[in-house]
């Protein structure tokens, strides 16, 4: 219930933060919605917390050509409610709106969530389907990679020591893209037991574009390329959707816990995929 002692700093600039984070015992503090509960259970005990809340450059949402550049410290509530996000990247807004509860969304940040790499977080399904990119800034400068490459394993990312997630970059959704995030929440914690995000476009009645991101099913989120391939070029009839969705969990080692066995979790993944595809189709043209 009570965290261990730690030192605290709240730098005003990114540069100052990076300098503090050069200390191997230091960890960044974003919204705190993942880190603080872990510290209270004493499962995490950083020696120093570097609070990023005063760094204004991390709070911006801006359009940059064909993409949206979202600062790491933007909260889930801001993503759920900002007109720019709701219009230009509705799938991201939908995933943000599905996170936790109102209080958690008011505090929690996309950067914090992405850096934490919880296999049962909501964003990964959407970020994979969006082919999002993650911007990292560290002592040696800035670099960018796909979100898919960024998450390596459960709670493990490509972050180098002293590096911060500073922005998430998502595409501005082309008109005529149908999107949907379908989540089956773990009934106690609210985390997705399974969450599937879908983006589809149609041309002449056939699926011309499909992206399917899955979270919660296993140790890390993934793009269900097998589903995408089966959808593309098809008419997305009910039968075709079911058939495409049937492979969403193929070859994936599904997690198991007291809330869902591996078999059931895979079933939920199939159902969520069907429902996400069906729900996104009406807006796909």
């Amino acid at each position: 219930m009570i965290p261990q002692e730690f030192e605290y700093a709240a730098p005003a600039t990114l540069q100052a933060a990076l300098e503090l984070l050069a200390d191997p015992g230091a960890r960044p503090l974003a919204g705190g919605m993942s880190l603080v509960p872990l510290m209270k259970l004493r499962l995490a005990a950083p020696e120093k917390l570097v609070d990023l809340r005063l760094i204004s450059s991390l709070k911006s949402i801006r359009r940059e050509g064909a993409v949206l550049h979202i600062g790491a410290m933007v909260t889930h509530y801001e993503l759920e409610s900002a007109p720019l996000i709701r219009q230009e990247c509705p799938l991201l807004a939908a995933a943000a709106a599905a996170i936790g509860d109102v209080q958690i969304r008011n505090s929690g940040t996309i950067g914090g969530s992405v850096a934490h790499a919880d296999p049962a977080a909501d964003y990964p399904a959407a970020l994979l389907a969006l082919e999002a990119r993650v911007q990292l800034t560290g002592p040696t400068g800035e670099r960018e990679m796909t979100f898919e490459d960024f998450v390596l394993d459960t709670f493990t990312t490509a972050l180098e020591p002293g590096e911060l997630v500073t922005a998430i970059v998502v595409p501005i959704e082309a008109p005529g893209t149908g999107v949907h995030y379908q989540k089956h929440p773990q009934p106690a914690s609210g985390f997705p037991m399974v969450g599937v995000a879908v983006r589809v476009r149609r041309e002449n009645g056939l699926i011309s574009f499909a992206r399917v991101g899955v979270t919660g099913l296993s140790g890390k989120g993934y793009r269900a390329r097998a589903v995408e391939e089966r959808l593309i070029g098809g008419a997305a009839s009910d039968v075709e959707i079911k058939e495409a969705a049937s492979v969403v969990a193929a070859g994936v080692e599904a997690s198991a816990d007291i809330h869902a066995s591996a078999v059931y979790r895979a079933q939920l993944a199939r159902v969520a995929t069907v429902r996400a595809i069906r729900a996104s189709l009406p807006h796909a043209h």
Partner: protein, 156 residues
């Protein structure tokens, strides 16, 4: 090593020296003697600790007091207006939206946030907005009625 913080709580400025690990809820309850926010769990799920931080409903059990330096906090003790109950408080009373009262301060703070953002919420929207607040006594029905009534009152 303690940090100096200055926080405005319910309109009053407070300066204190706090350990970085001191949770906001304990700072409010044990340093400022505002025992309205309650601790009901250890995993930031029950919402009994909900306060408003810069106008946003947050779980004070998952925030450190040091994160609140220079910021504005409102607790249940601060939402009445010069002795006149806030409409959410008034309607919880009218509609029997509480029994043991332990979840109530947090429930009222979350309901207040909902009405600020959504002045005419449906019952489904109300129940969804209260996902972060557990109640064991009421079965939520009178809480939903109370929130609907408060929204109507605020719209007048």
């Amino acid at each position: 090593m303690k940090h100096p913080i200055t926080v405005t709580v319910n309109g009053n400025k407070h300066t204190a020296e706090v350990e970085p690990r001191r949770l906001l809820i304990h700072f409010l309850r044990d340093t400022l003697f505002l025992t309205g926010p309650h601790s009901g769990c250890e995993t930031s799920l029950c919402g009994a600790c909900t306060v408003a931080l810069d106008g946003l409903a947050v779980k004070s059990c998952a925030v450190f007091a040091v994160q609140c330096d220079g910021r504005d906090i409102v607790t249940i003790e601060g939402i009445a207006n010069k002795g006149s109950l806030h409409s959410v408080q008034q309607c919880f009373w009218e509609e029997h939206g509480l029994q043991c009262g332990f979840c109530t301060p947090g429930m009222i703070m979350a309901s207040r946030q909902l009405i600020e953002r959504n002045p005419d919420p449906t019952d489904t929207e109300i129940r969804h907005a209260l996902e972060g607040n557990l109640c064991r006594c009421t079965g939520y029905q009178h809480i939903v009625t109370a929130v609907r009534a408060a929204a109507a009152l605020e719209r007048k």
